[in-house]
Amino acid sequence: MFDTLIAFIIDALWSCVAALGFAVLFNVPRRMLLGCALVGAVGHAARFLVLHAGLPIEAATLFAAVLVGGLSAILSRIYQTPALIFGIVGAIPMVPGVFAYRAMIGLIRVAGADTLLADERALLLSGAAINAVKTGLLLGALAVGIAVPTLLFSRRKPVV
């Protein structure tokens, strides 16, 4: 239990660093950096807890993204700025960069697969496919989760 708590805090700290780094890259105004750190840490740490409870990563990401979306809506009121800023920065630590990377590496390796045995080829292709599907599902979970406040509470008629 104590170990989990320590791991949870460490997870929150590192995701805080990751969110802040990308906030600087995206030129988020200084006065909002604190909010960015908060939303980044809360999102990833929440996902850590849900994963720890034994749920699959897709469900955990959806849960965490809903939390990020709600928090972004609150922060956007406080800072008088688009919720999108906090939504994106909060989602960045959960973007499936490694899955996307593995999928692409796997796909490019297929080019050299003619020298491999049949078993190895199958492994290469299925590995790439698994990672690609995971990437898509996680991105979908992130986008839907962040949009939940909009989808639920501001269902206006489209303006255009």
Binding site: W14, V17, F26, T81, I92, G97, M104, L107, I108, V144
Partner: protein, 281 residues
């Protein structure tokens, strides 16, 4: 002049007989001004990473608050088209947009601008001045700070993936230096997509050298995290947002852009791993 005609010419604010949509019609010159300003706001947003629904909403708000009766807006991945209507008159204009990278300060400023127009605080002259200021806004943070922040962010990712202290150091150096390379290439206007390959190659080379010289016991987190600065997170999230909100075309284009960037990252990384003869990642 009859009182009726006079009534129609005066601005309507406290007349309950008129619905909200009835505004004093703008002449052609004013309408040109309105479309210009709305397009400018839309262009700034599209170029700096806003999603389609937000661009439509904000440009619509800008145009109608400046006096147009209605705005028809088409956001394509690299252009914005707007038709403004006022009374019997309408005008249409296309503005080509080149993506310039995510800049949240600009999105924040355009949003604040649209609120001020809506509250009636600013007229067209003030809006033009503010848009000029926003368009000339430079990056808030110095280059070295961005490189250090991105290095720290990727190093943080390596810890999240279970890397050790050595992985942290290696990733920090690899991602930080790769960011400097990326800034240098962007500054010299190299093709944005192709420039990803040397950037990923740099990150891969430094990370793989660190692994090669035994600086870390956890090679995979170090290698994977060192190229995360290039991952098109905003493209991919916006792609999904657009698809979700029914903007299928812009969503697909953003998704394909994200996939192409990922391919370039993988090519650069594989070149680096191949150059150092490292297998299995």
């Amino acid at each position: 002049m009859t009182t009726d005609a006079l009534k129609r010419m005066t601005p309507i604010d406290d007349n309950d007989n008129f619905p909200d949509a009835v505004k004093p019609p703008l002449d052609r010159d004013s309408l040109r001004d309105v479309i210009d300003l709305a397009l400018w706001a839309g262009q700034l947003m599209l170029a700096h990473g806003a999603d389609t629904a937000r661009i439509e909403e904000t440009t619509h708000r800008v145009g109608t608050a400046l006096g147009a009766t209605w705005m028809d807006i088409l956001v394509s991945p690299n252009a914005v088209v707007i038709t403004t209507t006022s009374g019997e008159e309408f005008r249409t204009k296309v503005r080509r947009v080149v993506a310039l990278g995510v800049n949240m300060a600009i999105l924040d400023a355009v949003n604040a601008l649209s609120r001020r127009i809506e509250s009636g605080e600013w007229d067209r002259v003030a809006v033009r001045r503010e848009l000029e200021r926003i368009g000339a806004m430079r990056h808030d943070y110095p280059r070295w700070l961005i490189a250090a922040a991105v290095g720290a962010a990727c190093a943080g990712f390596s810890r999240l993936f279970g890397g050790d202290g050595g992985a942290f150091a290696v990733t920090f150096a690899a991602a930080g230096i790769a960011m400097l390379v990326r800034q240098a290439l962007q500054h010299r206007h190299f093709n944005a997509l192709i420039a990803i390959i040397p950037t990923a190659f740099t990150a891969g080379m430094i990370a793989a050298s660190g692994v090669h010289f035994g600086m870390t016991a956890t090679p995979e987190p170090a290698l994977a995290a060192s190229v995360l600065l290039l991952v098109p997170g905003v493209h991919l999230i916006n792609a999904m947002r657009d698809l979700l909100m029914g903007h299928i075309v812009t969503g697909l284009v953003r998704g394909v852009t994200g996939a192409l960037i990922s391919v370039c990252i993988a090519i650069g990384m594989l070149l680096a791993l191949g150059a150092l003869g490292i297998q299995g990642f």
